[in-house]
Subunit: 192 residues, 2 copies
């Protein structure tokens, strides 16, 4: 079949377009006909690839949470140096993610409650593990800050990094650099 490195599977095409549309107008705001049209087939044709609209959302959300967590774990394990370097690696990774897959990031904290219980639990668990990854590193750097403060700070920095609405007039590298500085600045304030 067409599973070369450059070509996307039909399934992957559908997921990509569905993510874009869901992020733009919300899960309920997009019809299956529209998703189908985005990949050149008809609405009911989607049911040859997914059990239903819910299944698409579930796969998207579980996928993004899993990739975020895996990427984070990898960076924590692979980074040599002190916790400062690890935190930098986590921030850089999250920025890449936020800029590359903004539709998915948007979905991630917007449409979670549309999932069936089991999927929602899974996503929440993955999210929690990702947060705790960050909290652990942050607490190494700021041992005096209580854990609850560190956790709120991590959530706040996620909000900061995920806020990029459009790359603005800055280019990609400048935006990355700016977000990096802002995130480090926020965490630095933890020791004040």
């Amino acid at each position: 079949m067409t599973t070369r490195t450059d070509a996307l599977t039909r399934r992957e095409q559908i997921l990509k377009e569905a993510a874009r549309l869901f992020a733009a107008r919300g899960f309920h705001g997009v019809g299956v006909d529209e998703i189908g049209a985005a990949v050149g087939i008809s609405g009911p044709g989607l049911y040859r690839h997914f059990a239903g609209k819910d299944a698409m959302l579930a796969e998207l959300l579980v996928g993004i949470s899993g990739r975020l967590l895996d990427g984070g774990k990898l960076r924590v394990a692979d980074t040599e140096g002190g916790p400062d370097d690890v935190l930098s690696a986590l921030i850089d990774g999250h920025i890449d993610f936020a800029l590359d897959d903004r539709p998915l990031i948007t979905l991630h904290d917007r449409e979670l409650d549309r999932l069936r219980d089991s999927d929602r639990k899974l996503v929440r668990q993955l999210q929690r593990q990702y947060v705790e990854l960050w909290v652990g590193v942050v607490r190494e750097i700021h041992p005096t800050a209580p854990e609850s403060e560190a956790r709120i700070a991590v959530h706040a920095v996620f909000g900061l990094l995920n806020s990029t609405p459009h790359l603005g007039s800055l280019g990609r590298p400048a935006t990355e650099s700016l977000l990096r500085r802002l995130a480090h600045g926020a965490f630095a304030a933890l020791s004040d």
Copy 2:
């Protein structure tokens, strides 16, 4: 009728409950029957107070944008001292808002595209003015930072401040103080 200082009018009750429900499950995720039930009347009964479901959302979003902008203007005008003090006042005001009216803040950047064109334009204009208020102050403090950087930083700090999902185990004052420090820390990084 009951328009004392403590009692809410029926309209206000409805708006309050609608805001809470919309924030929790999204505009399309909430039915009129549910909104009606939340204030003790039936679904169609709402139509005695609002032209439709869309009208409730419009009034909520225009209201929140307007109050944010008005509050910001007031603080800029009333604060004595340098731009640092003005920025502090803006941050404090936004934190109060984020903690007091979180449902509305959530709606604010989540359901904007459900509005009719005229309302959406109005809300966008109010939002833009609010952002520019901040950008002006930030640029006074960091004159070397280009305007596009300042604007992205302002958006990022909004994301940071609006990220509070639950007050967590910290109390309200401690959360306020923490968010304040994080926001100042992020802005401080603009001059790096």
